[in-house]
Amino acid sequence: MPLTVKKQGEKLVASIRGDIDHHSALALRNAIDEAISRFRSKTLVLDFSEVTFMDSSGVGLVLGRYRNICAYGGELELRGLSLRHMKIMKLSGIEKIAKIKGGEENVKAAK
């Protein structure tokens, strides 16, 4: 599974590797959801720094996990988005609901 899940204090950090498309998103979704219900951390961090490709399936993956953690009042944080991936994420207005860390310059550059 191209996913590493770790507890970092109060946070559950899920680091994704490789390509995120509709095909790979299914297994990623199941693995992240499983970790969410196991740890029930206040904050879910999704780390994209080792993502090599992402299309709009990545946005769906994020929005779906956001809905999940919202159900118990959790918060979402995104890390390591490249400028390209940020641009795709921002088409959904994700920056209004998630904290985006690292690459703040990318947040602005992607308008």
Binding site: H22, H23, D55, S56, L63
Partner: protein, 144 residues
């Protein structure tokens, strides 16, 4: 449309595992034109969206053929057509609205927005019950 200088055609079964192959195959062919890595990634991303739509929406649970044509034209124009014989689209205008998806689950409804964002021209032809064609055009610059 003038004749392409070069062209490739690809027929794929609509298994989702082919999404990765389709975008890599098209970008490998397109890469014979000198372009930036960013432009190549733009092409990969747009192709991935169109192929995924044929798989997820066009054919759904069925398996059918996806026909991809990639042509290279004068002045660094790349034109990619992705066609399926799937269910077709009833209302194309509505389908192309940002965040609209006819499927629930984890579809973001941003496929057409991404295609628009990363290409210069997007055309969609569809007939309910017959299928859908998506044409993507991108003019790439010569790498400096």
């Amino acid at each position: 449309m003038l004749k392409p200088q070069n062209e490739m055609k690809l027929i794929l079964k609509s298994h989702s595992v082919n999404e990765g192959f389709a975008r890599v195959a098209v970008s490998a062919f397109a890469a014979q034109i000198d372009m930036t890595l960013e432009e190549l990634s733009d092409i990969k991303t747009a192709v991935s969206e169109a192929v995924t739509n044929s798989i997820v929406h066009g054919y759904g649970r069925k398996i059918g053929n996806i026909y991809i044509t990639c042509g290279i034209y004068d002045n660094n124009l790349i034109r990619i057509k992705i066609r399926d014989n799937g269910c077709g689209i009833e209302d194309i205008k509505k389908a192309m609205e940002p965040m609209y998806s006819s499927l629930g689950g984890d579809r973001a409804g941003l496929g057409f927005s991404v295609m628009e964002c990363f290409t210069d021209k997007l055309k969609v032809y569809s007939k309910p019950g017959k299928g859908t064609s998506v044409i993507l055009e991108k003019r790439v610059s010569i790498k400096c």
